[in-house]
Symmetry: C2
Subunit: 199 residues, 2 copies
DNA sequence: GACACCTTACTCGGATCCGAGTAGTAGGAT
DNA sequence: ATCCTACTACTCGGATCCGAGTAAGGTGTC
C-alpha cells in the first residue's frame, strides 16, 4: 500500500537539497553540510547549521526520511545517519513535480520597493537603478564563470547545471527592465507626478 | 543631529508597506490591514494579522515609528495609532534606496527544484514545465487586467503602478525560459543522461 | 610536551512568521 | 425581544529560522 505524500512540505529550499543529497547515499547532517559547501550550492539556498538540523528533524518527523543508526567515531559527538523512508523517494519526485508545475507566491524585496520608487525622486531613483543593474551584471559574470568551470573543466552535462541557465535568464531579464526604466526616467518618458513626501 | 538608520531592517516586505502607508497619515494596525486589502496589495507581500502586529511592534521597537496615542471608540478594543518618528521618514527613503541599489540574495523554490529536473524523467519534466508556463500565463493575464483597471478606470499615472510592469516582465521572462526548456527536452537538444534514481 | 588553532558534530535560545482564537459591538432578520 | 452573522481589533502559541555557542578530538610547532 503506497501512502500519501505528507501534507507538510517544508517551505525551506534546504529541505529539497537534503532530500536530493540523500538520493546519493545515507548521510549524517554534518556530511550534508560538507557536501553542500564543496559543491557551492549557496545560490539555491542558504546553509546555516541551525536550519540544517531543524530541517532534517522536521523531514524525519513527517516521514520523508528516517534515522538508520547513530554511530560514534572516537570520542566525537554522536552522528545520526539518515536515509529516505520507503515512500520518501517517490514523495520527493511527486513534490518536485508539484513545485515545477505550480508557481508559488513569493515576495521579492525589490518588487515591494519598486512601488515606492516615487519617494526617491527622479535623480536618485535613476541612479539607484543604474547601480542595481551593475550589481546584477556582476552576478551574471560570476555565475558565468562557475558555469564554464563546471561544463568545461568538470565535463558536466548541461542538465546538471541547468539551474545556472535559469538563474542567468532571470538576472538578465531583471537587468534589462531596470536599465530600461532608468532610461525612461532620465529621458522623461516615465511621467513623474510630484509626490509630496507626506502632506 | 540626524541619527543613523537603525541597523535592524526587517526582512519582511510587509514592513516596507507599513512605512509606506504611514507616509499618508498616522494609522492603527487594523486600519493598515483594511487599506492593504482595499488596494489589493497582496502581490507584493503576504498579509496576516499576526505578522502585521509583530512587524509594527518591531518597527516601533527599533525607532522607525512610534505610538501617538491609544484611543477607544465605543466599547471596542483599544487602538494604538502609529506614525513615523522624526527620523523615520528619512530612514525609509534611505532604506528604499539601499534595497533598489543592492540586489538581495533570495531563494525561489523553483530555482532549487530546477536542479533536480533530471529526477523527473524527460516526459514528466517537459509536461510539468508546460503546465507551469500555462499557470504563469494566467498570472500575467490577471495582472494585466488589474493594471488596465488602475490605468484606465482610476486614471493612475504609470509611476503608481510601475511594480506591475516589473512583475509582468519577470513573469514573461520565466515563462519564456520554461517554454524554451520544455521544447529542448522534447526535441532532444537538451542532453539527458540517464539518472539512476539512487543506485 | 604544552600551547594554539582548526575540525567535527551538534545544541540552544532569541527573533520572526503566521493561523487560529478571543472578546466585544453593530446591524439585520424573525 | 432575541438570535445570528459580520465586523472590529488584537493576542497567543506553535513552527521555523538562524547565529552563536559548546565540547571533544586532531594537527602542527617550537
Amino acid at each position: 500500500m503506497r501512502s500519501e505524500m505528507p501534507v507538510k512540505r517544508p517551505a525551506n529550499p534546504l529541505a529539497l537539497a537534503v532530500l536530493g543529497v540523500l538520493l546519493e547515499q545515507p548521510m549524517h547532517p554534518h556530511a550534508m553540510a560538507t557536501a553542500f559547501r564543496e559543491r557551492q550550492m549557496d545560490s539555491a539556498f542558504k546553509l546555516t547549521t541551525g536550519s540544517l538540523y531543524d530541517t532534517v528533524r522536521a523531514l524525519a518527523r513527517d516521514g520523508w526520511i528516517e534515522a538508520t543508526d547513530t554511530e560514534q567515531v572516537g570520542g566525537r559527538p554522536m552522528r545520526t545517519v539518515y536515509r529516505h523512508t520507503s515512500d520518501g523517494q517517490r514523495w520527493f519526485t511527486e513534490w518536485l513535480d508539484e513545485i515545477v508545475r505550480e508557481p508559488s507566491r513569493e515576495y521579492p524585496r525589490f518588487l515591494s520597493a519598486v512601488s515606492y520608487l516615487g519617494v526617491l525622486g527622479k535623480q536618485r531613483a535613476a541612479q539607484a537603478l543604474r547601480e542595481r543593474a551593475a550589481a546584477l551584471q556582476a552576478r551574471v559574470s560570476e555565475g558565468e564563470q562557475a558555469y564554464r568551470a563546471a561544463r568545461e573543466e568538470h565535463k558536466a552535462p548541461r542538465l546538471f547545471v541547468i539551474e545556472a541557465e535559469y538563474a542567468r535568464a532571470m538576472l538578465q531579464a531583471e537587468m534589462q527592465w531596470v536599465l530600461r526604466t532608468a532610461e525612461e526616467i532620465e529621458q522623461g518618458t516615465l511621467e513623474w507626478p510630484e509626490v509630496s513626501p507626506h502632506a
